[in-house]
């Protein structure tokens, strides 16, 4: 075992921290200093969107563990971007399952940051299962239905859409500008990045399909695992930043003539924040390591996602108590990290979703 990132990974982290510190200051106004689109171009210059893409398709041949380390830094700086959905989940699906012409046309564009994709998966039940899909769609036919909670749909060039046809659930890759697609904001407490996307007789060609007709869930499952792990890394980064801020506050905030960090009640709360971060990180990284090596990892990913979500959310919630009244203000950064964790926890499978995977893995009938 070796918990130390390689030298190249350490460089990646250092460069990311440097870039993000300049572009995502902690005292930025709500919503961040730049719209996701603006910073995306800069991020593309660093090669981040192409991290999982092979060199012959314009990427940098990186690994999932590279992505985990990079995304942890993004979480640490509360970066608002379509990175996980587009550069991780969607890119991996296009690489694995798009027809060669589509792959060659789209993946290099995505690697260069000129094109992003959003995931249009959830419907009215909010469940991430094949049974929950009622949107209709056949290759060579039309998409008809509505997807909900599609993150960053407004800025995405393409949409990855699940739809049910004669042979079961298939996955389609369609341009958002295609006739019949409309987006409507779904206001949320975590930054208004969610949209309802309606597909009204949208033409889809066989070349739009990712994988075989009816095999949609096989196409989707590995990408959801990557997305879940990247969300873990993001939550860990956000929680780690909350920890840093809380400890700093505990050292400098003076009450009754002493830094509040000298009171045991605060000390013990800070210790619990550290526990959340330090226990989630090795679990998530080791799950990613298994995925990267192609080992069976459904249970490990489910455990990582469900544990990390709970641990990091409790870091955020406990931190509010350490910060006191100032943490309740919009101008204070705490709520942004908290909301990021809250959102990340629910995407790529919420706790209930992953609990069922774990339950089966430990042998419950």
């Amino acid at each position: 075992m070796d918990f130390r990132p390689s030298e190249a990974q350490q460089l990646l982290v250092a460069a990311a921290r440097d870039f993000l510190a300049r572009h995502c200051p902690i005292d930025a106004p709500p919503g961040g200093p730049a719209a996701p689109k603006d910073l995306w171009t800069e991020m593309a210059l660093l090669g981040w969107p192409g991290l999982l893409v092979p060199g012959d398709l314009g990427g940098s041949d990186g690994t999932l563990l590279d992505v985990m380390l990079l995304v942890e830094e993004m979480g640490r700086f509360d970066l608002e971007s379509p990175y996980i959905a587009s550069a991780v989940a969607a890119t991996s699906m296009l690489l694995a399952s798009a027809v060669p012409a589509r792959r060659r046309a789209v993946v290099p564009e995505m690697a260069l940051g000129r094109r992003t994709a959003a995931l249009a998966l959830l419907e009215e039940s909010g469940e991430l299962t094949p049974q929950a899909i009622s949107t209709r769609g056949e290759p060579g036919g039309r998409l008809q239905g509505r997807k909900l909670c599609v993150r960053d749909a407004d800025i995405a060039h393409d949409l990855i859409v699940t739809a049910r046809g004669e042979s079961g659930v298939s996955v389609f890759h369609v341009q958002r500008a295609r006739a019949g697609i409309t987006c409507e904001a779904m206001p949320s407490i975590d930054g208004n990045r969610l949209f309802a996307v309606t597909f009204d007789g949208v033409d889809v060609a066989p070349a739009d399909m990712l994988g075989d007709a009816g095999a949609g869930w096989d196409v989707l499952r590995p990408a959801l695992a990557l997305g879940a792990l990247a969300r873990c890394a993001e939550m860990i980064g956000a929680a780690a930043r909350i920890l840093d801020l809380a400890v700093e506050h505990a050292k400098t905030r003076v009450q009754s003539g002493r830094p509040i960090g000298s009171f045991q009640a605060i000390q013990h709360a800070c210790a619990d924040l550290l526990r959340g971060v330090e226990s989630a990180r090795p679990l998530a990284l080791s799950a990613a390591w298994r995925v990267e090596r192609g080992q069976p990892s459904d249970a490990e990913v489910a455990m990582a996602k469900s544990y990390t979500g709970d641990a990091c959310l409790s870091v955020a919630r406990k931190a509010h108590q350490i910060f006191g009244a100032i943490g309740y203000c919009e101008e204070h950064p705490l709520h942004r990290f908290h909301k990021r964790i809250l959102a990340a926890r629910l995407e790529y499978g919420d706790a209930v979703h992953h609990a069922e995977t774990i339950a089966r893995a430990i042998g419950l009938v």
Partner: protein, 394 residues
């Protein structure tokens, strides 16, 4: 980064599993109860069986009879033993003591005790706490007075695990009064038969004996039994306590996993409301959540182990891992008592006890874990001050 076992480590794990198949844990006599840390019951016979395999000394330097195997293999061994519920209770104490003897022991301790430890023939108790010195260990009053080539120890130790069935005590005593309370303390390795020692059992809330108190009345020991230099016992101990917290709880994750899997078996076989208990949403989700927490605990301990293997002290990391281990143990056993329902509190002696009464027993012993080896409160303070740099209270 690499989060897997090497081929050699995998092969060793298989070797341990084969050993456990040849030596089923249940076939060994138990000399003392399980602390519930996951370290299994005390069994001298099982320790000797481990010794016969060479596993008690495998990481030692060759000049002390070891094989200089990497520390990771010790973790592999402990994990397999805990998963199997083997009675390896004295292992951690013996291992830690051997490590200290190799590092700072006298030639006498090295030549007399190391071979016995390697055979599984020497087990140890800790004589640290006193009636008036619990969390405030430095207020201990046991004294050792120099008398030529001997020391004469007087005092009263308490909460010493397995002291009555072990062979030697590690007794921390004051050898001089210094301005700093952490100075002037010395560690002695005292044989149980030494005259002047009285070892009395303390019956615990489980109804069984795990702890003892030890009265030392003019106990005379040669200077050969000093563990480390005179007056520097606390420095040696503190380094020891850091790793003691790691080694004392490393096997908790696999031990809890074993308990969890027993609960799964139970939930699959009993019915509630006409369906398997396993289908009850609260039980199902609860067990899944606990399984994830156990995996997180395991990953955290392996990381701390990796730090220690790389020469880091890992003091606050070990403390944090211990807090998590013991609180998770309490959470799991409390959940289990709920899940087991009306028969949950039945003990081993009852034919109706679910899971042979093991869960009820674990529920009770788990209460002591957040106290023993540093209370969770003391340890959180350690994490906050040593790990996060928060100001100390004074």
């Amino acid at each position: 980064m690499d989060f897997g076992f090497s081929v050699a480590e995998e092969a060793f794990a298989e070797k341990v599993r084969a050993f456990l198949r040849r030596h089923p844990p249940a076939s060994f006599p138990r000399d003392g109860m399980d602390a519930g840390y996951g370290s299994g019951a005390a069994s001298r016979a099982f320790m000797r069986a481990l010794g016969a395999e060479g596993w008690l000394s495998m990481t030692w330097p060759r000049r002390f009879g070891g094989e200089e195997r990497p520390m990771m293999e010790k973790l592999v061994l402990l994990e397999e033993l805990a998963l199997a519920g083997a009675p390896f209770g004295p292992l951690s104490g013996a291992d830690q003591t051997a490590e200290a003897i190799i590092r700072v022991g006298t030639p006498y301790l090295q030549s007399e005790l190391l071979p016995r430890i390697a055979r599984g023939d020497a087990t140890f108790w800790q004589g640290f706490s006193e009636p008036g010195a619990g969390s405030d260990l430095l207020s201990l009053t046991t004294e050792a007075r120099r008398d030529g080539d001997y020391y004469v120890i007087n005092g009263h130790k308490i909460w010493s695990s397995h002291a009555g069935i072990a062979d030697f005590g590690l007794v921390l005593a004051r050898t001089s009064r210094e301005a700093r309370r952490s100075h002037g303390l010395t560690m002695f390795v005292v044989a149980n038969q030494t005259s002047g020692m009285e070892i009395r059992p303390i019956r615990s809330l489980t109804g069984e004996v795990y702890h003892y108190e030890v009265f030392l009345d003019d106990v005379r020991v040669p200077r050969d039994v000093l563990l480390g230099p005179e007056g520097e016992g606390f420095a040696a101990l503190l380094g020891g306590l850091d790793t003691d917290r790691f080694w004392g709880r490393f096997y908790k994750a696999p031990a809890l996993k074993r308990l969890l899997l027993r609960l799964v078996q139970h939930a699959n076989t009993v019915t509630r409301d006409g369906q398997p208990l396993a289908r009850d949403a609260a039980v199902r989700r609860g067990l899944a959540g606990l399984a994830a927490e156990i995996e997180a605990l395991r990953a955290m301990f392996y990381r701390v182990g990796w730090l220690i293997q790389n020469g880091e002290r890992a003091g606050h990391e070990s403390a944090l891992a211990k807090v998590m281990a013991d609180e998770l143990g309490q959470k799991l056993t409390a959940f289990a008592m709920d899940a087991l329902g009306a028969f949950g509190p039945l003990a081993e002696a009852s034919q109706w006890a679910p899971l042979g009464g093991e869960m009820a027993h674990a529920y009770l012993t788990s209460l002591g874990h957040t106290i023993a080896g540093g209370t969770s409160e003391i340890l959180r303070t350690t994490v906050a001050t040593r790990g996060l740099g928060l100001p100390t209270q004074r």
